[in-house]
Symmetry: C2
Subunit: 247 residues, 2 copies
């Protein structure tokens, strides 16, 4: 079996946002679907792990747009695992448009947990190194720890985790967090600026009926940090977005 998995997705109008562009929210759904299929085909997918009370947890992601994109028809996602180190593994993705050009590079950090104890497991003992692929050039950096917001003032808004936010494990879905983060920007912000790099760190899981506070700090004209917290003290996730002024 090839070490790199390649998956094609036809795009539909409902995956596009107000600019008629594939949204980061919908792109994340396709990245996770590709990761799931790649892992499953090689015997380390969620379904394989669940049988042994284990599961994958996404800890960090970095989505970098290498060029502006305007794909309407179809994208292709390549994904592979390029590092296993103690408790963590790095999975990478390249996203190609229908002409075969890579317009987006993604790096993600994952851990494997025991779903009963919620403890992280040592991956070097559990993942076969034959699946590692290190020959492909990394088009974006590995995801970093994002620094917290300096001074948390009054929340920008509050969101509640309801039916449509919840997956089969009673956790808020990854893409719903991303939606809430992007919803902290106005349409005018997003008309004038293009997302260049979207980074996210996942810290704790939110569940049904949790109310989360949205906090946002402008670091510079281009960079914002957004935090979702459950009550002030429980961090749920933190994102950093680097914008690029549209020309």
């Amino acid at each position: 079996m090839l070490k790199i998995g390649t998956y094609k997705y036809k795009l539909s109008r409902w995956q596009f946002d107000f600019e008629d562009k594939l949204s980061v929210i919908q792109l994340m759904n396709l990245l996770l679907e590709s990761a799931g299929n790649h892992a499953e085909e090689r015997g380390f997918g969620i379904d394989n792990l669940m049988a042994e009370d284990k599961s994958w947890v996404l800890l960090r992601a970095r989505i970098e747009f290498l060029s502006d994109y305007n794909e309407k028809k179809e994208i292709q996602i390549e994904t592979w695992v390029d590092e296993i180190k103690g408790l963590f593994t790095t999975r990478r993705f390249n996203v190609l448009d229908s002409r075969g050009e890579v317009f987006c590079a993604v790096a993600t950090t994952w851990a494997m947990i025991n779903i009963k104890t919620r403890k992280m497991l040592h991956l070097t003992e559990l993942l076969d190194e034959k699946f590692l692929f290190t020959e492909k050039e990394a088009l974006t950096k590995a995801p970093e720890k994002i620094n917290p917001i300096d001074e948390k003032n009054e929340a920008l808004s509050r969101v509640e985790a309801l039916y449509s936010s919840i997956d089969i494990n009673n956790h808020v879905t990854t893409t719903r967090y991303i939606q809430w983060i992007l919803d902290s920007f106005s349409i005018d912000d997003l008309k004038e600026n293009r997302i260049k790099i979207f980074e996210i760190n996942f810290q704790n899981e939110a569940k049904f009926r949790d109310t989360l506070e949205v906090h946002k700090q402008k670091i510079s004209d281009e960079i914002y940090i957004i935090e979702l917290t459950k009550a002030p003290e429980i961090q749920i996730c933190r994102a950093r977005i680097r914008f690029e002024k549209k020309s």
Copy 2:
């Protein structure tokens, strides 16, 4: 060209809800995608109409689940137009599981508007009757006008139309309304009851930054009416859901 369009969709994990089941929200995306493709292939899709300052507007939908469903792999959607009458046209859908069984029947009412005047246009002059298909058995009734909630008390909740809710026309997307409607139910409600019939009437469009009130009335143990309003006086949409107790 065949009068009935048939479209296959592979299902992905992110289209499933907390019960690991294709949600009505995601099903609606696929229904609209099928309607769009069917119309476009026959020369009366949105892109065709936009060139003449016209557009389709969905006025009513009725989604009836004929049997419980648990499809994980792929669905097939058949769609056709079965009536043109003055200002309105009825489009029908059957949704089949991967064994080829119809588990869901849908009927929708549409109007065509001039996007500059927002006036409805006479369809008998604009739509070619050769596309009508009336030989197929209708597995659900045509959508009806839903009666309003008797007495509107305090709103159950408020929702704001932000970035992720907005389409290219600066309107809230059809599926986002359905999401807000279903989010008025708790996970426990939806664990114990299965949606048998989901009906919706669209009355006015909500736009970016609009705050909508969610109102809900229990008509009987099985039937609920949910209304989304912008300020108390502007009706946005109204849904009626008939549940069936799970056995």
